[in-house]
């Protein structure tokens, strides 16, 4: 009887875990976010590079979780990975825009100095 109860609990637990579908689409979207961050210049900006690495690690972990059937946890981790990659891209954009603004302001100062 006791064995039967344990078996039932195990079966229910397994059924609940497997009822959550593998987040394959989210995983692909996460990969796309990482790709955008990479091509957007994140590897060249220290802060952005850090978040890009976190995104890559989380995606890697989520893959392992999916392989083990822990799809729900994998989905959470993919969500984290996606915002890490998005933040990496935003930080890269910020750094590039600020650099361009600094350069343009220097050009203005130089032009005014030459008057």
């Amino acid at each position: 009887m006791r064995f039967a109860m344990i078996a039932l609990v195990a079966a229910v637990t397994a059924a609940c875990g497997s009822s959550f579908p593998p987040p394959n689409d989210e995983y692909s979207a996460g990969q796309a976010d990482v790709g955008r961050a990479e091509s957007g210049g994140a590897p060249g900006v220290p802060d952005a590079k850090l978040h890009l690495q976190l995104a890559q690690e989380d995606l890697q972990k989520s893959k392992g979780l999916m392989d083990n059937g822990d799809n729900k946890r994998a989905a959470d981790l993919i969500s984290v990975a996606r915002v890490e990659a998005q933040l990496a891209l935003s930080l890269a954009k910020q750094q590039q825009a600020e650099e361009q603004a600094r350069k343009a302001q220097a050009d203005v100062a130089k032009a005014k100095g030459g008057q």
Binding site: R73, D76, E84, Q96, A97, E98, A104, D107, V108, Q115
Partner: protein, 294 residues
């Protein structure tokens, strides 16, 4: 991990039972702080959409935390991390937008500065071109004036040569440091001891006046005598004879203010006074035409 979770639940339950509050996980505390930063700064003004996204994510994280009350709940922690990153994304996007605005402003300023400089340079160029054109005009004018002056000088020289040739037919003409010297012998002009012009002298002086008229050159008529007689008398005679010639020339159209008379007496003889011929040569009138002052 399972033991930890159980302990967390136990701790949470104990705190709840005692009326205490379970402290939120660090990730949620950080998310709240970053969201407050994003909402309080210019981020909300520049990027309200991402701030709203962060707001929704934070609400979700708070909800997850309220449900679990477990500081180690991975789902709640992930939601908190997502909320924090969303707030950070909003701040980074706003900073990028601000930098883009500054870039645009700098570009506009640069364009205005360059435009002003270009305009100033164009103005200077126009001014230089105008000055150049004026200089060229002046140069052309100067060249024309120089050509005209050269022509006038050539005309004058030609007229002077004509006059000299004409005068040379009736009187001795030479050049010395005083200018062109026209010498007329005293006998031709005056009777002995007189200063009234002979009729024949007038005819010669008419020709000389015709030749010199219009030259506008200063002239001096010098009277000379030989050394016979008192010097005072000779000085007086020579002065009167020079004056007679001067007045006659003036009456024939030579401007009076350009011609003067001066008696030299026996000074500056051109020949020995020991012979009749020499004394005759010394009795003379010299009309000196001075070079025209430029």
């Amino acid at each position: 991990m399972r033991t930890g979770t159980v302990l967390s639940f136990v701790a949470a339950a104990a705190l709840a039972a005692c009326g205490g509050e379970v402290p939120a996980p660090k990730a949620l505390v950080d998310a709240r702080a970053d969201y407050a930063k994003a909402k309080g700064g210019i981020t909300l003004q520049l990027d309200p959409t991402d701030v709203h996204e962060a707001d929704l994510a934070l609400q979700k994280a708070e909800s997850a935390w309220q449900s679990s009350q477990d500081p180690n709940d991975e789902h709640a922690i992930d939601q908190a991390i997502i909320a924090q990153r969303k707030a950070q994304i909003a701040m980074a996007e706003a900073a990028a937008l601000k930098a883009q605005q500054e870039l645009q402003q700098a570009k506009t300023e640069l364009e205005a500065t360059m435009s002003a400089q270009l305009q100033a340079t164009r103005g200077q160029l126009d001014k230089t071109q105008r000055n150049l054109a004026q200089t060229q005009d002046q140069l052309q004018l100067t060249a024309a004036q120089a050509a005209e002056q050269k022509k006038q000088l050539a005309d004058l020289e030609a007229k002077l040569k004509d006059a000299r040739d004409t005068i040379a037919k009736i009187a001795a003409v030479k050049d010395d440091d005083r200018g062109m010297v026209i010498t007329l012998q005293g006998e031709v002009l005056f009777k002995t001891g007189k200063w009234d012009l002979k009729p024949g002298a007038m005819a010669k002086l008419d020709q000389i006046a015709d030749a010199l008229r219009g030259k506008e050159q200063p002239m001096v008529v010098y009277g000379f005598t030989d050394n016979v007689g008192a010097v005072d008398m000779n000085m007086d005679l020579s002065q009167k004879r020079a004056q007679s010639v001067r007045d006659y020339l003036a009456s024939k159209g030579i401007p009076g203010d350009l011609i003067t008379a001066e008696g030299k007496g026996p000074a500056a003889p051109v020949a020995e006074n020991t012979s009749v011929e020499g004394r005759a040569q010394n009795r003379r009138v010299e009309i000196v035409v001075k070079p025209k002052k430029s």
